[in-house]
Assembly symmetry: C2
Homo-oligomer: 405 residues x 2
């Protein structure tokens, strides 16, 4: 495969934040009706102006700059003292020990951690089990490293309450067929479902039985709604060297502008990730690393308020969506993604997503990014201004009516 062919598979045209680069002139002629007025809402990512960064985060950054060279140039895996603080707090959060020296790496964003973790566990021809639907970069990463993807379906629409609906039989078959890495997000991106304790226990049991490595992206695992219980895979009955957990002070804390992530767990895999980071980006921005001091260290009550604000938005959006015939949305249990399934339309799902932007000032991510089977869904990051988000989803539902088949 030539380098040009390799990159041809790596599309970003529909990726969140890239919409402005799309070619839309051929669609314009087929649009029906007038533009719906209202404030633009970009549901492709959270609005850090509506939900501000952790209090004190900028001050902590400024102190990092004041520290000078010691903060600018850290080990590739991040400043040791910062890693020590973070490791202790992550151990308390996840219920299993974290080795600050050898079992944790700071990366440029959670995306950075995911890239390194996949690169450090699969290479050309290796088999990797990936959930459908799941975060779109998972598939792209596997493709970039020329690994073979064994998809595992998650029937989140049909699943019983409290279950994510992962097809555990299919996961076992993937391991039996030779997959030695399983990559999934919990809560699931895009659907917002959380895996049950039983599902996590069975994933651990299967991985343990087949000697497989599990990479679990827990980016949103702090933002959990009322009544939701969460099970950390790394605290389950599984060899700790076979688990890498990925998190970051980004979405929930609105700290995305600093580009910080962490991966922790398996020492052998973290060591490989650091070797690669040395040639990919050297390290997470040194000054930004200082902001990790605020992580899991927020003012009393701050996280509860943040969760309550998001739960209120979630509930209002669900009411609007469920009031539209043929729309289905499972209630997100954690995180800030909503993944409604839309009824049949007269235009293709891809064109509907573009029409939403052009005619309603609503930016969403098409469902095809997450699974070949979810083309009839769109993803919304509802970490937005509350009123603006409700108004935008109303406009979306109005366009559903306009283009209903």
């Amino acid at each position: 495969m030539s380098v040009v062919e390799k990159f041809a598979k790596l599309g970003t045209d529909n990726a969140p934040g890239q919409e402005g680069r799309q070619e839309v002139s051929s669609l314009q002629a087929r649009l029906v009706g007038d533009r719906l007025e209202g404030r633009l809402v970009d549901f492709s990512h959270g609005d850090v102006d509506a939900h501000e960064p952790t209090p004190g985060s900028f001050q902590t950054f400024a102190e990092g700059v004041a520290r000078g060279g010691a903060q600018a140039y850290t080990e590739y895996r991040g400043d040791l003292e910062i890693r020590e603080g973070v490791a202790q707090r992550l151990a308390a959060f996840t219920g299993a020990p974290v080795d600050a020296r050898d079992g944790l790496i700071v990366t440029p964003g959670t995306q950075g951690a995911l890239f390194l973790a996949v690169a450090a566990t699969v290479t050309r021809g290796d088999k990797i089990a990936i959930v459908q639907p799941d975060y779109f970069a998972n598939r792209k990463l596997a493709e970039f490293f020329e690994a073979e993807i064994l998809p595992v379906q998650m029937a989140y629409v049909e699943a019983k309450a409290g279950q994510a609906g992962l097809d555990l039989g299919q996961l076992e078959q993937a391991f039996r067929d030779g997959a030695r890495v399983f990559l999934f997000s919990n809560p699931n991106n895009p659907s917002g479902v959380v895996y049950s304790a039983e599902e996590i226990a069975r994933i651990a049991e299967l991985a343990q039985g087949y000697g497989a490595t599990v990479i679990v992206d827990q980016l949103y695992s702090r933002l959990r709604y009322e009544g939701v219980s969460y099970t950390h895979l790394r605290a389950a009955d599984i060899d700790a060297e076979n688990v890498v957990t990925i998190m970051g002070p980004s979405k929930t804390e609105s700290l995305s502008g600093y580009r910080l992530g962490v991966a922790f767990g398996s020492r052998a895999i973290i060591a490989r990730m650091e070797k690669l980071q040395a040639i990919v980006s050297l390290r997470a921005a040194g000054y930004s690393q200082a902001v990790l001091r605020t992580w899991f260290n927020e003012p009393e009550g701050w996280m509860n308020d943040r969760i309550a604000a998001h739960q209120a938005i979630r509930d209002d959006l669900l009411t609007v969506i469920r009031g539209t015939e043929g729309c289905f949305a499972r209630t997100p249990q954690a995180g800030s993604y909503l993944f409604p399934k839309l009824p049949a339309l007269t235009i293709s799902p891809g064109d509907f997503v573009k029409a939403l932007r052009l005619q309603a000032g609503v930016v969403v991510t098409p469902g095809t990014e997450f699974s070949p089977h979810t083309g009839d869904s769109v993803r919304l990051n509802f970490s937005q201004d509350h009123r603006a988000a409700v108004a935008a989803v109303r406009r979306m539902c109005e366009l559903v009516e306009r283009y209903r088949a």
Copy 2:
């Protein structure tokens, strides 16, 4: 090749900044004499406390944070308005147009740009011409992507004044043998030599003739000493689509803590680089991008003062090194690297580098990182406190005497 084998080749034990992770107990017993007292100088990278970041850079960052979401979430290739400003200033600096929309990408550090540029131009089995000696990551990147390296020697020791000493015949042979990418740094890292106008013209001519892409790392091209003339490859007689230039406001400007780099030139390659950045790290930290507003936009006279300060350090270090029998150092024409060749010693070069750290409080990068033929040299980044650097190089020369064969 398994993923474990692939990473076994990717060593970072001798990489700058990683020295603290080295195992040294077996060496301790073989060390001769007492520890030389003096302030620790880490020549593996510049001292941003001795040479402070660009005036106003932190203020500009703070304004970026205040801009909020618009600055936190940019296109993957970076904020368009910032790219427009940078493109204009880079065009003026390099003497050839820069397309802000399609021909420039902002990356997490220059390392990020280099990683993406190599990934976007070579894949398994492709041939890439790489200079020896040159920046150590060049070789590692080619190895990571399983490309075949065709080395091209640079005889910087023997070269005539004003010439880098690149073996242009060997470069042509590499192209003749199928290399379609040539990667080099100018000024050369580690030797500090600048390619002559004739060398650059010939590189352009050869690349043009063979339809090869040239990636030129010009990270240090602003920090040029008295009397040095510099030729930008991208302004030479060569198809602009076949050149990618890499720079960054890092070393010279002491802005490394923000992790910023740029690649500019070929639209097709930049497009591929952005696709990959989307799964590697998404984007350079949004808030950090704001700091690019200060780049090539420094207060009047500031860059001249910075250059003068470095030239004075360079000259004093050269005097100390040249006063030690059997040491050779070519005068760096640009950048802040010195690459002295040491005389024969009773301990291996690798052990001497460790001894320097343990017995003299002097951290340098071993010559083996840059070429298999430069094991008898060490690299020093002399962007340090002037007096401390001179004292440290004196201690280094004292240890050369102690271990002289």
